[in-house]
Symmetry: C2
């Protein structure tokens, strides 16, 4: 049986955007009353371009101060603006700390959160005796040298399907605290240590708590071989601290269909 | 004949600092009434550490929004604080966008400007169709690909002793507009083009006007072999534009004596 569709307006298009933002000056992604958020700036810019209000769905609710090098969001529109014109048109309405790189027409059912199969976050630590002004708000300052080798040993134990109950802040309701970490890389480049983690999903503050646990491992407060027992305990108090938001970047998101290029 | 010195206070020390700053939030280096400047923040921090007001002499009057990766300043103090403690002590009193890396005791006659023999500035251009939020305020956005080879041909003609009258903004009085450019390198690394120039001194806006002239060369508005005739004309209108402050970084300063390490 065919569904009878009545559309008073033109056919609605579903548009996905690939974008980046410096989160320093925003109260996170999600719209909050009276506070500047990334989604609010984008929704205003998109509305000005397509000529009607839009509801923008983002791939993750990043916290205040968290950044994104790669972030995907989608919205529905009746506008007939050519797809390839969309990034440029939106960017002219955006502040310099948010930028849209690409737009794509996606199937009606595409949803920036629910269609996601993998996300990647990178946590940056600036390890030096003295702060670098150019990493202010862009990395966590850490005044000693990290033990990267020991951090790698512990990080290897994050990989796989685990109950990450001990590595999150209790926040929004979730059905399960089981997630699969696909990869966890600890990369050192001079004063920068980058902690890069990909998973099928992240619990609230999970990326920052995994990073904080590795800092505790470096400091000898947690041994690499203790990670397994922290998983088993499910006890948040046994894991490391939730590191500051300014060091966290969303760096990738993948879908069940190819969205861009 | 020996000069009779009366000192009511202890012997004064002359301290040189090596520091860096992100100039985005400042009205330049030099103190101005009622406006936040880099020297004002530093003078307040130093005064809190040494226990008396200080006059800080900076190696250059950078404009509002201009950055420094390497900047040298000096001040006199009667404090007996150990030299190696000074950077740490000052940094605890500074905002995150200014950082002191090193301090050194220097001879009484050392002066951050007059003792200088060579300075280096680097101008960053972000060449891409789309802005990168992380280069906002940190590079000039340029929405096309630059002709780096042609820019190098023109830059080679800046090197040497010339009258740079055509390549400056008329500002503070100077005795002569003759300067010697020791090197001018045009480096391309992906989307970043870095224009690195060292000279025995810089006229007001000279680094930004040389950079703007190279952009005009890239755009075909000035031919590389026209640089010589611009020098001869001394006519500011024949050179390129003064590029935005946000792309400019002081990246080095050298003295007639070794100051650090």
């Amino acid at each position: 049986m065919q569904v009878d569709r009545h559309m008073t307006d033109r056919e609605m298009r579903n548009i996905a955007l690939r974008l980046a933002f410096d989160g320093t000056n925003y109260h996170g992604w999600q719209s909050q009353k009276g506070l500047a958020t990334v989604s609010q700036k984008l929704e205003e810019a998109i509305a000005a371009v397509v000529g009607h209000p839009v509801k923008l769905i983002g791939c993750g609710r990043t916290d205040a101060g968290v950044h994104a090098k790669t972030y995907v969001a989608n919205f529905k529109t009746s506008s007939s603006i050519p797809t390839e014109r969309i990034p440029y048109a939106i960017n002219t309405k955006l502040p310099d700390d948010i930028s849209v790189y690409e737009a794509a027409d996606v199937p009606e059912g595409f949803h920036a959160v629910f269609s996601g199969v993998r996300k990647e976050y990178t946590y940056l630590i600036y390890q030096s005796r003295t702060k670098d002004p150019f990493y202010s708000n862009r990395a966590m300052f850490y005044p000693q040298k990290l033990d990267v080798e020991k951090m790698r040993q512990a990080a290897a134990r994050f990989i796989g399907k685990h109950d990450f109950k001990a590595f999150r802040t209790v926040g929004s309701n979730v059905k399960t605290t089981v997630r699969t970490v696909f990869s966890y890389d600890v990369e050192e480049d001079g004063e920068i240590v980058a902690l890069r983690v990909s998973a099928n999903g992240f619990l609230y503050n999970m990326a920052r708590t995994l990073a904080g646990t590795l800092v505790y491992v470096s400091e000898g407060k947690i041994r690499p071989d203790e990670i397994d027992s922290i998983f088993e305990s499910g006890d948040r108090r046994k894991a490391g601290p939730n590191l500051p938001a300014c060091g966290l970047y969303m760096t990738g998101v993948w879908y069940d269909i190819p969205v861009f290029g």
